[in-house]
Symmetry: C2
DNA sequence: GACAAGATAGCACGATTGTCCTATCTATAG
DNA sequence: CTATAGATAGGACAATCGTGCTATCTTGTC
């Protein structure tokens, strides 16, 4: 094979199209992180990129799919910017701390101009129904599960109090990350993430094994 | 004076109009808590209430003002459902716990169908600009300030460790409330607020004075 | 009761929305 | 090279948006 396109369905993708597709998703993520996935607009996206409405529409064939692909793309960014760096650290407490640090750094660096994309869609779709809500719910379940897993591992390594409820403690670590993201964005002050860092450390400090 | 209308600007308000006005805001809060203040629509509200678009529009004269008044109305609900019950308890640690309990109860009871309205608009407008963003920012500053104040009072009463940074600790109490709200709504499981309750208690437990 | 003013309906407007249909261009497989 | 199919533009569509204008009803003041 001379190119590495996915080539699913027996149809060939053209490289120029693939590139435009990526550019659209990039702009869509930027816009949606600020104004929400719901107020994404095909016409707006087209104007932003200097192409025609049809040029955008043809890539997704419905607004629904545009939203779904945008969410999916954002999840990949999250994976690359938070999960991957976090997974560098050895399993257990170190990785738990590493994940929290990676999240706060990702907020601080302004990877998305409107703060954490997944926090944005969490609030936007938590009370709605449909595929986006379901995707958000499952994504957040995975994220919580990942934290929970590391808590259990840390308990096995005697790095954390074995009496802790893993899910509960994962929740307690996650909470300050989320709020730090919202407040840093709200007040346009990236240093607010320090509150999150301090909170995470405090939560961990009281969860160490009672020697 | 024979009626208690506000009567501002020298014009008299009619009671039927005032009632409709309130009904509109009520529906607007319900809708916006689910789908966001930004996707509030005058036509949609009109259909929902069985009145004409003009009938709704005339009450606000712009969409901007509809959004502002809806936010304001929601803040009043928040005051009535959270702040007022919370303020029953005596100042200090008791009031701090009372406020947290009141918030979680308000989430649990589903006062808004889409979860806490202020958490919704926080996420929606944190990265935007304009009067709504500013109102949200100042509202949340007030809420954090209120918690902070009670932390300081509690420290004065020797109910909490005087070494605590009040703002930081207020943040740490607020965080699990906020996340509990989002997750309870996302998973349609009001009992998730128990995670918030447990987290608040844990945070307080480690903040007691080191006798 | 009369009268002033608020409440509401109806209609029209330009703009924008999502979606479809039909051309024209261009990258690529053979 | 040619042939094919994807990429994109352009235009049209019905629906909905926010916002005005005008007319009719209803409430409250004198």
């Amino acid at each position: 094979m001379t190119n590495d396109n996915h080539d699913e369905g027996g149809s060939r993708r053209r490289s120029d199209g693939e590139q435009t597709h990526a550019q659209i998703l990039d702009a869509a993520m930027r816009l949606a992180s600020i104004e929400g996935l719901g107020s994404l607009t095909i016409g707006r996206l087209a104007r932003e990129l200097g192409v025609s409405k049809s040029g955008v529409f043809a890539h997704f064939r419905s607004k629904q799919r545009l939203q779904e692909e945008t969410l999916r793309a954002a999840e990949e960014v999250f994976q690359r910017e938070v999960l991957l760096p976090g997974l560098d650290a050895p399993e257990g407490l170190a990785r738990l701390e590493s994940l929290c640090k990676a999240y706060l750094s990702y907020v601080e660096r302004g990877v998305f101009p409107g703060g954490c994309f997944l926090a944005q869609v969490l609030a936007e779709f938590d009370a709605q129904t449909g595929p986006i809500h379901d995707a958000v719910a499952s994504g957040h379940k995975t994220w919580l599960g990942l934290m929970e897993e590391q808590v259990i591992t840390a308990q096995g390594l005697n790095e954390l109090d074995p009496a802790l409820d893993p899910r509960q403690f994962a929740f307690e670590l996650w909470a300050p990350l989320e709020l730090a993201n919202y407040l840093a964005t709200l007040h346009r002050d990236p240093t607010i993430t320090d509150w999150g860092r301090t909170a995470v450390q405090a939560a961990i400090a009281r969860a160490l094994p009672r020697t």
